[in-house]
């Protein structure tokens, strides 16, 4: 099964192509094809991950052309891990989305699913490709489908989406510019090949320019402070299901590319030691962690609060990348996984509340704890996980980040991580208080509100339970997968 790396994106691309055709005949086919496609992609990713862990990395040469001339797709521990996370979250959110989409945007079901599959295909493509320019193409596939997806929604959505389009295009263009500098310096676009040729060119200013351009591009895409301005509006105005699909995975995939650049293409010896890129990322991320948490406290719109909280959580991942030591990077990767689960769960809860009550102001959530007990239980677990209370998963990624900061002797980052946990507690306790302790007031939801139907409730509960399971089994994930990923950081001289 050496075809696995290419099967994952191809399955998703094919279903994106089939959905408009089948959806033209009958609208319900769109949902069926999307679920089957996402399920197959997840099955392939999981099989790929297991094979990588038992037999080492899988390389697939597109069209039989050997690299560096041909494009190759690579499943190694890092990309197989990320592909499994992205396809799993995609699958769960797609299963959830049917009722929510029919409720919020009934006329746009078919294009929405086609675009969602295209988005997933783009994201998975970014993850599996071993070619720098191919990565750009997938980056643009995912971005273009995201712009269109986000523009479905209320009146303000197209404006937010257009702003994101402009910033996203700057990011895409900067990335190509960076790749151009790399190509003209090394003469290659294959990541492994570029990595081999780069050490001889570490003094070159063109390579430094390439690193800076690519870094700015990815910072924009992953909404790293202060390049986060596009994010809150986009998450707030898009349909619930779309936000739940985009928020947990899209920024993480850009973080993955950053890690890929650090570990594979430029190597830690360059980005950490010669050009102080990782420490800049670390400081910006620390600022983002605090900024995101403080802004989240000030929000009354639940979705907007979650959006700012995303900026803060992306900061954690940035801190881990910035530390660029094994423990820090394990923390970042674990946080990519945990935060994908947490944010997906939280946005599914937000979608369920909107589905049943039509509200999204925190001040109108009073009494929901009794009306929607199961949904709120899932919310509570993910809130605890966001704050970082064991045994929920969020605690363990923060723990590794703390260990990494101590390992690096960076006490400022230790203080930031602890302070931000407190701030996170402030904005989630505010919501929990509304839900469980406040009495219904004139703003609050109608009495008849109840838990959503099983097709929406089960995915939410699954993610909530997943957070506890991930928390309990995190040491297995760290030993078997993440320790292999961070090996390049242990290499002598790096």
């Amino acid at each position: 099964m050496s075809h696995l790396p290419v099967l994952i994106p191809i399955t998703l691309l094919l279903s994106a192509f089939l959905i408009p055709l089948a959806g033209y005949v009958k609208r319900d086919f769109a949902f069926a094809i999307a679920s089957v496609g996402a399920f197959l992609a997840f099955a392939f990713s999981l099989a790929g991950l297991l094979m990588v862990l038992s037999q080492g990395e899988i390389r697939y040469h597109l069209g039989g052309w050997a690299p560096p001339i041909g494009i190759e797709y690579v499943l190694d521990a890092l990309s197989a891990f990320m592909a499994a996370v992205v396809t799993l979250i995609g699958l769960v959110v797609l299963i959830y989305s049917r009722r929510s989409v029919l409720h919020e945007v009934p006329l746009r079901v078919v294009p929405l699913y086609a675009l969602a599959m295209l988005l997933l295909a783009g994201l998975v493509g970014i993850i599996v490709t071993g070619d720098l320019f191919n990565l750009f193409v997938f980056l643009e596939i995912s971005s273009l489908s995201a712009y269109a997806l986000m523009a479905i929604g209320d009146d303000r959505a197209p404006v937010a989406s257009f702003r994101y389009l402009i910033l996203g295009s700057i990011a895409g263009s900067f990335y190509v510019l960076g790749v151009g500098f790399l190509y003209f310096s090394t003469g290659s676009l294959n990541m492994a090949d570029v990595a081999q040729r780069l050490p001889a060119l570490y003094q070159s200013r063109a390579v430094a320019a390439a690193a800076i351009f690519i870094f700015i591009a990815l910072g924009l895409k992953m909404a790293l402070f202060p390049l986060h301005l596009w994010l809150p509006d986009v998450y707030t105005y898009a349909p619930s299901a779309v936000t739940a699909l985009i928020a947990p995975i899209m920024t993480k995939v850009s973080a993955y590319v950053l890690i890929r650049m650090l570990l594979t293409v430029f190597q830690p010896a360059y980005l950490r030691d010669l050009l102080p890129m990782t420490s800049i990322i670390g400081w910006l991320a620390a600022a983002g962690v605090l900024y995101g948490s403080v802004m989240a406290i000030a929000q009354n719109d639940f979705r907007r609060m979650l959006a700012y909280s995303s900026i803060s959580q992306i900061g954690y991942i940035g801190i881990g990348i910035g530390l660029a030591n094994p423990l820090g990077l394990i923390g970042a990767l674990l946080h990519i996984l945990n935060h994908a689960f947490m944010k997906a769960c939280l946005f599914l809860v937000a979608g369920s509340i909107r589905f049943r009550t039509g509200r999204w102001k925190v001040s109108s959530f009073a009494g929901l704890g009794r009306k929607m007990p199961w949904t709120m239980a899932a919310f509570t677990v993910s809130a605890l996980s966001m704050v970082g209370i064991p045994p929920a998963a969020g605690f363990f990624s923060k723990w590794y980040l703390l260990l990494g900061s101590i390992d690096a002797g960076n006490w400022f980052l230790v203080a930031v991580i602890l302070a931000s946990s407190l701030l996170t507690a402030v904005y989630f306790i505010r919501v929990l208080e509304q839900i469980y302790a406040s009495h219904a007031n004139e703003e609050s939801a109608p009495m008849k509100a109840s838990d959503p139907p099983p097709s929406m409730l089960l995915p939410t509960l699954l993610l909530g339970a997943g957070l506890l399971i991930l928390g309990l089994f995190n040491s297995a994930i760290v030993t078997h997968i993440l320790n292999i990923v961070v090996l390049p950081l242990h290499r002598p001289g790096s």
Binding site: F133, A148, P158, F162, I166, S173
Partner: protein, 123 residues
Amino acid sequence: MSALAGNYTYYITAFLLAIGLYGMIGKKNLLKKLIGMNIFQTAIFLFFIHGAVKPGTTVPVLDSRIGMDAAAYINPLPHVLILTAIVVSVATTGVALALLITIYRRYGSLEETTILERMKQSS
């Protein structure tokens, strides 16, 4: 002067990049932002095309008089990359224009300040 003569395309690229960036960030009209984006992307196309040039060589189509000597042809790879990038750019422009049409229908304007005002009125 000779440094300027040999590298003038780089200066033009940088100049166009600056114009494009200014258009995207400095202009308040959404359509002008889009035009800025196109200028910005064109600058990058030029950068790649210039990177492919080798003085004294010919177009990368197999010529029986030159044979298989790769050094005698222009590097075709950047051209191919840029063809792909142009397609991406066209697609982005298409999506952006579609968004602009939707925005114009809802708010009756493409001026950012007017749109923000009308957004506030409606909410």
